[in-house]
Amino acid sequence: MIEEALQWAEKKGWTPFEFQIKTWRRYFDGDSGMVNAPTGSGKTYALLLPILLEQKHLGGDGITAIWISPIKALTREIAASAEAGIADLEMRATVGLRTGDSTASQRAKQKKNPPHILITTPESLHLLLASKGYESFFSSLRTIVVDEWHELLGTKRGVQVELALSRLKHIQPRLRIWGISATIGNLKEAARILTGKESFTIVRASIEKKISVIPVLPSERERFPWAGHLGIKLIKSVIPIIQSGKSTLLFTNTRAQCEIWYRALLEEAPDLAGWMAMHHGSLSSEIRDWVEESLHEGTLKVVVCTSSLDLGVDFRPVETVIQIGSPKGIARFLQRAGRSGHQPGAISKIYFVPTHALELIEAAALRAAIVQEELEHRIPYVRSFDVLIQYLVTLAISDGFKSEELYREIKSTYSFESITPEEWGWVLDFITTGGSSLQAYDEYAKVSIDEKGVYRVDNKKVAMRHRLSIGTIVSDAVLQVKYLTGGWLGTIEEWFISQLKPGDTFWFAGRPLTLVRVKEMTVLVKRGGSKKGKIPAWLGGNLSLSSNLSIELRRQMSRLASQTFDGVELEALNPILEVQAYRSAVPKDEELLIEYFQDKEGFHLLFYPFEGRYVNEGLASLVGYRIGQQLPISFSIAMNDYGFELLSDLPLSFEEKDIRQWLSKDHLTRDLQLAVNATEMAKRKFRDIASIAGLVFKGYPGKPKKDKHLQSSAQLFFEVFSDYDSDHLLLLQAYEEVMIFQLQEERLRKALDRIGQQQLKITFPQKATPFSFPIVVDRLRESMSSEKLEDRIRKMKLLLEKD
């Protein structure tokens, strides 16, 4: 068959890449494995072609291959490639799509006449497992391909994939599993987790792409402002880049930033109207699909986007990529840079636009990091009991499951390798009786056990609600934005809308909208309104600088301090560093800088470990907690990738030995846990957990009125479990997730080791410094208090609208 593959390539006039040929060989040998290749490198045909050839020669009725893609947009592209391949190979085979867009009649047709090749998403695959008779539906399966596995791995959708595979492997023990992944630091681990095998193949595409990082600097005459957000201030330098290129992707880090840049570009360069578009994860799929198609056709000059366009199909017309603000990680930056320069040997150019002056150092750090090619690890989710609960109910809806058999399957996955029989028992209790905290067993209706020991869902309403909730791995308080006249624009978070009154204007999807009213879960709007309307923000949008990039950042910092920095950014950075050195100090490699000053807001205590926002947050909570143990005090905490601030209304007196004690590794795990309890971090993590585990039912269009009586919020559940069932596994999971993903306990430990070796450089500036400014002005703050609630209430005033 390999000959036929080569002939196919010849007929197309293509020279197959070495990695493609190697993959074909390994595939026909019956291996499982991972293809490591970037977007636009021909990775699809590396696996699609052998699947088709095998179908041509071995035949087989029913589904023989499943292709799983993380995004819907990509499934259509894969289907088109498969159809083209089938035509080229002059063979008979059918291709089917199964996504959230599939209609009921398409689904029914597919069930009757399954396609040979099924292209789907993780959620839709789970929905297939929720339909009766799925075992026979999948009985001819030979191969599963998981596309963009690096993107799924560090998410709960990755756990979803692991669980679905464990079931399919049981149905078809000889199943071959292949993944496709961009380069990540833990590629081997990624392959092992996906295939679940000890021996597997990794095929690496050695396609070298040259990347050039060009910092966007203010013109010479302009003074580089160090205080404040300057992202938009560089817009005048950005517009010529857009105008000189054919098609540009402008990446922002958050959806809010995306909206802000879009509006600013419209104002500054009105001639771009009609040639520019916006793309982010909260926009409706109609809008996003339109943008993607227009990008393909080359009819757009610029698309302002977020990570929503990191993935997926290659947009050939794109020649230029602009990154606004820190990309936070080397892998992400490379992926984005790779979106331009498609011709072999072409240099991918990426423009880096700092959003505050210090970020210029990151341009230098990125350049150095790219040369060293030290890419980040993707940390896989483990012990995600919320996903497990959802999965068990899924199986109980369709054909049911038996405890012992399924326990073995679950335990074979990486995610649940460490699950204990007690925890398994807890999860089964949770879905059958509601868990240990319920005394009235008889009334709880979800999953029941029949006389043969099979776990099933009998209640039709429970089954329907569950099906609707699969795939909603999103937070609870999301409202739909719709025109009064019809037409869906996207989703927005409740806290933002709650600040607005009917008649107020806000910007969304790149246009001004006037709020008409909020009705249940829908925000009704009409077009138009003031140009100055508020721009929404979405919580949880802040990524942290990766460990690898943090190391490189510290290296560049110390070069600056020792005056051996030689990047092109130096000239722009110099005036800022002078102010920093004058008001406080520029820390050397062996120093930890600490600043303390007072102004009308209170007493500011700042630390600069340069560890990335998540670890800095962990350190902030730890220090805040430890200070709070010595005296009753309330802090508001802010941080960025460089440092963190503890702000309070009380003065602190401290000496070097106090600081050493706040940053000590003694009782670290205990103190961290107590610190987390004192903040709202776990409560925020619980939002997703409650939703996935089916506690929070969000309702759906056309729902029966009585279902409104089942609406609640993750926050309520967090409180009620904390009060009455503090050992609840889902609650513990929230805390565990904070430790692993938010505070990154391992990284934090290493940071404390490093800090332990450093000298403390404590300064008392008269006012904010270039280092402290971006942190001090941050308004999204965590708070922590060891004061009595009564005392805090007494000191406070009502927050009125004008504030």
């Binding site: 949770f430 509601g434 868990g435 905290s437 319920l438 005394q439 009235a440 009334e443 709880y444 209706a445 979800k446 209640n459 309403k461 429970v462 609600r465 709650s498 807001e601 209170g602 007493f603 309330s634 802090f635 508001s636 702000l647 309070s648 209304d649 089916g694 506690l695 039912f697 009585k706 009586h709 089942l710 609640s712 919020s713 926050q715 309520l716 559940f717 009620v720 479990f721 009060d723 009455y724 069932d725 308004r779 703050r781 708070s783 009595k788 609630l789 009564e790 805090r792 209430i793 007494r794 000191k795 406070m796 005033k797 009502l798 927050l799 009125l800 609208e801 504030d803």
Partner: protein, 220 residues
Amino acid sequence: MPDTIKRTLELVVKGQNFLLHPQKALFWMEQRALVLADAHFGKGRHFRKNGIPVPQMQAEVDYDRFIGLLLEFKPAQVIFLGDLFHSSYNEEWTSFSEIIQKFHTTQFILVKGNHDILKPAIYEAAGIIVKEEPWKLGPFALCHHPLEQHQTEYAIGGHLHPGVLLKGVSHQRLRLPCFYFGKTQAVLPAFGSFTGLHLVQPETESRVFVIGDGQVFEKS
């Protein structure tokens, strides 16, 4: 004005005397009436019956709080300002009726809210008098829903589960449930503990009483 710090707080509205209780209840002295809004009894069980596990203890604690108030005030009447029972009938109603039957010298009155969908016979059997809103008593119109338009009587209602944000120096913020006394109407906090909080924006000339640390504080 310094904050008044007492366990309960006294308040005069339209010449009538009230006690604001930190257990999210109002006591009207002239009428010897205990006024509660949005108790949502039976909510946890309603969830459980639909496959969503809510700890049983939550309901028990709310009953204890309710009984505590009855014992403390020995009211002549208890007025529920709507959303007394969360949804359709479940066994929790039996527990609730058993409690109120022990207080046979007290009259129980429900001003109907949007959640109160039980059949009239069920309320009747439990000895609860049902009133449609607005129910006029003394100088007040007792309601569940806040009124869209001002009526001649000062309205007292619930439904919103009101809360406010407090701010302090150094970006301190606190979100707390409250009693809200506006120019034309008052909104009581939700009595039920398995209910959310809806932030309200105080108008001028309104008085806000927050609840925290088992106390009631007036805030401005």
